[in-house]
């Protein structure tokens, strides 16, 4: 990675870190933690059984963190990869510097991904701890592979979403609207349509990476058939890499 890319990434990260957007996203990212705390309270009050911890974590991950928090974080940062500077009126300063445009955009994307990871992962791991910790340290250890699979699904999903929304950010004037439609309109509709349409969503591949035991009963019915783990990994990597690359190409040729 060139020093200019890391310089841009670091600058973007530092500018975003204390921004009002990050405050809002931090609140969103901690929502699952609040739900996990409520779950802990129900266990303490003996409303829920202690042994239901792993299932509670899976439901929290499959119903809140992965389909809602992860795409929202990716959307609110990645869609601004170009429009933030265009709206702030700072794009001209950067585009007349002796830095390749691809490096500028790579740096911005890297800064965005870093902040999304910082916002998503700690609360997610905390949820795992809160839901399973009551069963003892041994339980935490034995369910660790489950956590890893959930983190893998989330990380690859965020990568894919970020690429998609970065591309929208370089092409569209209102990328946020596109993103909201994609997440809550298209993906929601595709998941209930029978046939191959679900392969055109990111959620399908994210769900495919989650442990099988995460989906039981109603949840399993909503998710539908799954792709194999290697296919899901490859699909998410391909979506992320392809959309990021196209976004860079568009930006490199963009007239301002």
């Amino acid at each position: 990675m060139s020093s200019r890319v890391s310089l841009v990434a670091l600058w973007s990260f530092s500018q975003l870190l204390f921004s009002p957007r990050t405050l809002g996203m931090a609140i969103l990212a901690t929502t699952p933690v609040l739900i996990a705390l409520v779950y802990r309270a129900t266990v303490a009050l003996e409303i829920a059984a202690e042994s239901s911890g792993p299932a509670a974590f899976s439901v929290l991950s499959a119903a809140v963190s992965l389909p809602f928090v992860a795409p929202m974080l990716a959307l609110f940062y990645a869609s601004g990869v170009v429009t933030d500077d265009a709206e702030a009126g700072t794009l001209h300063y950067f585009l007349t510097r002796p830095v390749a445009r691809r490096d500028l955009l790579f740096g911005r994307m890297l800064g965005n991904l870093t902040i999304v990871a910082c916002l998503f992962l700690p609360p997610f791991v905390l949820c795992y701890y809160l839901t399973i910790a009551g069963s003892g340290w041994q339980e935490l250890g034995s369910h660790f592979p489950t956590l890893v699979r959930h983190i893998l699904a989330a990380s690859l999903g965020i990568f894919a979403y970020s690429g998609l929304f970065s591309l929208a950010g370089t092409v569209l004037k209102r990328p946020l609207l596109f993103g909201l439609f994609f997440v809550f309109g298209w993906q929601a509709a595709a998941s209930i349509v029978p046939g191959a349409v679900r392969y055109l969503t990111v959620t399908h591949y994210m769900h495919s990476l989650m442990p099988h035991e995460s989906f039981q009963g109603t949840l399993a019915g909503l998710i539908g058939p799954r792709s194999s783990t290697p296919a899901a990994i490859l699909a998410l990597l391909a979506i992320g890499a392809f959309t990021h690359a196209i976004a860079v190409w568009v930006f490199a040729n963009k007239e301002i």
């Binding site: 700072t90 300063y93 830095v99 040729n253």
Partner: protein
């Protein structure tokens, strides 16, 4: 002197709107001003030169290369954009330093240059303040600081005097002249003729995406002065003033309106009449309230030029 910037048959369209039409221009070292009313194509030309736009047809060459997304050209270029903003939470020093780091300067060198640039534009006392708290004039000084900090060979300034107070205007005009005198190429756009006259003698007059005239400002002045110049005088005694003025030679036409309390005249010797009116102010007490010229705006100047072509 060899051309630093060259435009050959350059046109640029925005859909069906013509931004620039078949422009052939060369810019050498020194200060050149692009003069024209709003919508003349000045900003489009500057965007083409700085590589933010590509020409729809023709060729733009800066230091022998195409400037579009070209880091080699941008290394030698400084841009003061018009009305561009800054990132909200950044302070002036960090902003200039970051842009210098993007130029490839290491941290100590970038910091040193940023300090110097901030000092040179008179923002030293507010260098740690967030830019969002700056006045319009201070922001304009910061735009100039970031453009000059890396000592570019070519400086491009889009309406650099916008938002500046008289002291700021004087300073910026002085800096521009100084840059030109140091053998740098300075391309500056403006729509105010008298400001441009203080910066340079070399001008390019543009309107509706076309170059109307280019060369020495005095030649263009002469061209303009060959046409009757309008002077509008507000007066409580239009009949009396008109009678005084009618006695003068060089008057092309005169009219007055009691209702509007004004006298309107046309002359080919505007300087002599302005002097005369100044004398009237001194000797005919209270007869003149205000003197203005509709010709002071560039649109009128360009109307003259269009009519003569």
């Amino acid at each position: 002197m060899s051309a630093v910037i060259e435009l050959s048959g350059v046109s640029r369209w925005y859909g069906s709107v013509v931004g620039l039409s078949r422009v052939d221009l060369t810019f050498a070292r020194g200060v050149t001003a692009l003069l024209g009313p709003n919508g003349a194509g000045k900003s489009t030309l500057l965007k083409l030169v700085t590589g933010l736009l590509r020409p729809s047809s023709g060729k733009v060459s800066v230091l022998g290369a195409s400037p579009f997304a070209n880091p080699d050209v941008h290394r030698k270029l400084g841009l003061v954009p018009e009305e561009e903003e800054f990132q909200a939470r950044v302070n002036a020093l960090d902003w200039v330093e970051y842009l210098l780091r993007l130029h490839g300067f290491d941290e100590p060198a970038a910091r040193e240059r940023a300090h110097k640039a901030i000092h040179d534009v008179g923002l030293e006392s507010v260098s740690r303040r967030r830019v969002m708290t700056f006045s319009r004039g201070m922001k304009q000084r910061l735009r100039i600081a970031q453009a000059m900090a890396h000592d570019p060979e070519i400086l491009v300034l889009d309406e650099p005097l916008t938002g500046l107070d008289p002291v700021g205007r004087r300073d910026v005009i002085e800096w521009i002249r100084d840059w030109g005198a140091r053998g740098k190429s300075v391309l500056v756009s403006s729509h105010i003729l008298h400001e441009v006259e203080l910066m340079t003698r070399e001008v390019v007059l543009m309107t509706a995406g076309k170059v109307m005239a280019s060369g020495n400002i005095h030649e263009i002045r002469r061209l303009i002065d060959a046409h009757p110049h309008h002077i509008l005088i507000s007066t409580p005694e239009p009949r009396r003033l008109a009678a005084h003025l009618l006695e003068q030679d060089g008057l092309h036409s005169i009219s007055f309106s009691e209702a509007l309390a004004q006298v309107k005249l046309e002359t080919r010797e505007p300087d002599r009449f302005y002097e005369l009116l100044a004398n009237y102010v001194l000797h005919l007490d209270g007869i003149i309230h205000e003197v203005s010229s509709p010709d002071d705006n560039l649109e009128a100047v360009f109307r003259y030029l269009v009519e003569t072509r």
